[in-house]
Subunit: 254 residues, 2 copies
């Protein structure tokens, strides 16, 4: 019996970001667990089964997959982007920590994927070319005061900031509040990138400034990158601009 | 004439992390530029040429590749990991910014890859499951005082911290100083992960604590992840421990 659980990152969008390691893990699995739209990206061969669950049922999904793997099935949980970045790998670890001994005995393999911030950065140029951070704006999982404190710390110290989960029906105002907070630390001309559904056929990219950034540019499929004081934009005739953060900082930022 | 420049991320280690998009870009290129060990990972077909340069010649490499692409060749610069994270994409943008108009007219395509911190995190569990940052310890490119300020800001605000470029012959003491600095903010038991050459046949992973972390555990092929106060370790009999940072923080950190 295999008693294996893989947590596989599919990357964002379509299949262009799938790695060979991910393809291998998907080929070997007998049962797939995941959010429906991610499962739809995995073609089934004979003998493979799929078990879809809703986006808000991560813990229950992790428990179901762990139980199935412990019963002797080769199980794969599929995840968009990278499973280790605000996604299923942490959920599975949380459940293993409080679950039966048989879950700790499983062969757990996490297969990394291209996370949204890398895909959006690549489309825009090189905004993550210098120190950066990734921050989820979901306050389901932490107090809003902590999010504000992290925005202050990151912007104040000169990190470029990638914002995950910028908006949802439950938190329509978070992004507006976050952008206003960042405006206390950063110049109005700081470049801001809105990457929507990168890798999908309906992908779009908007480059604007902190002064002009609005929450209406974002939805649940948007990843936002807010530059630092060092981030620059190269205008190009007939082409999209290139946004980049130079590798070097000459002097300590005041 | 193609006048195309691709900057292609190969991921760390061997070819398991190559994406379909990267394979497509490599197949179409006529001339490859890059650091020798990365070029060695790209098999050449008839009609393709390769141009190796040293690790410290990034700017000259970017200029050579840009000139070649502007002359009508389909050029690919290859990069380990992700080209947008402390790598060639920013270098190319820096050169385009100060170069001739013909460089701004090029079709520049950046192909993202698995960056080292995602590969190391996947091997260890889910240490990047909550907010995190990526920081280069190279003070060739910025003042040491700024690195310390960023370590203070990131650790103080509860970000997990991925350290790139932890040591080199030119800076043997940076990592020791960084770990000592972090110890002002974080408990002695904070998990620290040293990932060496992940994805290569000589890969290794060490999980220790901030109190026991030493610069002797790192070389130039090491990526380090320092946990936050929330990061936890699941011990497993007969298996490597799982290190993870829970998705949720219940209360603001004092």
């Amino acid at each position: 019996m295999s008693r294996k659980l893989s947590i596989v990152g599919l990357g964002p969008g379509d299949d262009r970001y799938l790695t060979r390691e991910a393809l291998d893990a998907l080929a070997k699995a007998e049962a797939f667990y995941g959010y429906g739209p991610y499962l739809d990206r995995v073609p089934l061969r004979k003998g493979q089964s799929r078990h879809a669950s809703d986006n808000r049922e991560e813990a229950a999904r992790a428990r179901a997959a762990l139980s199935r793997a412990a019963s002797g099935t080769n199980v794969a949980i599929v995840s968009g982007g990278d499973p280790g970045v605000f996604a299923m790998a942490a959920t599975v670890c949380e459940e293993i920590a409080v679950g039966p001994d048989s879950w700790r005995a499983l062969d757990v393999a996490i297969v990394p994927g291209i996370t949204a911030m890398l895909a959006v950065a690549a489309r825009a140029g090189a905004p993550l070319g210098h120190d950066f951070c990734a921050l989820s704006l979901s306050d389901n999982l932490k107090p809003w005061e902590l999010i504000e404190r992290r925005l202050d710390a990151a912007a104040g110290a000169g990190f470029v900031i990638a914002l995950y989960n910028p908006v949802s029906r439950a938190r329509p105002l978070q992004l507006s509040k976050a952008l206003a907070r960042l405006a206390h630390h950063l110049p109005a001309a700081t470049p801001v990138i809105f990457g929507h559904a990168i890798g999908r056929s309906d992908e779009s990219l908007a480059v604007t400034t902190l002064a002009h950034a609005r929450d209406t540019l974002a939805d649940m499929a948007t990843l936002i990158i807010v530059g630092s004081r060092e981030t620059r934009v190269i205008a190009r005739e007939g082409r999209a601009p290139l946004v980049y953060t130079p590798r070097a900082v000459e002097e300590a930022i005041a």
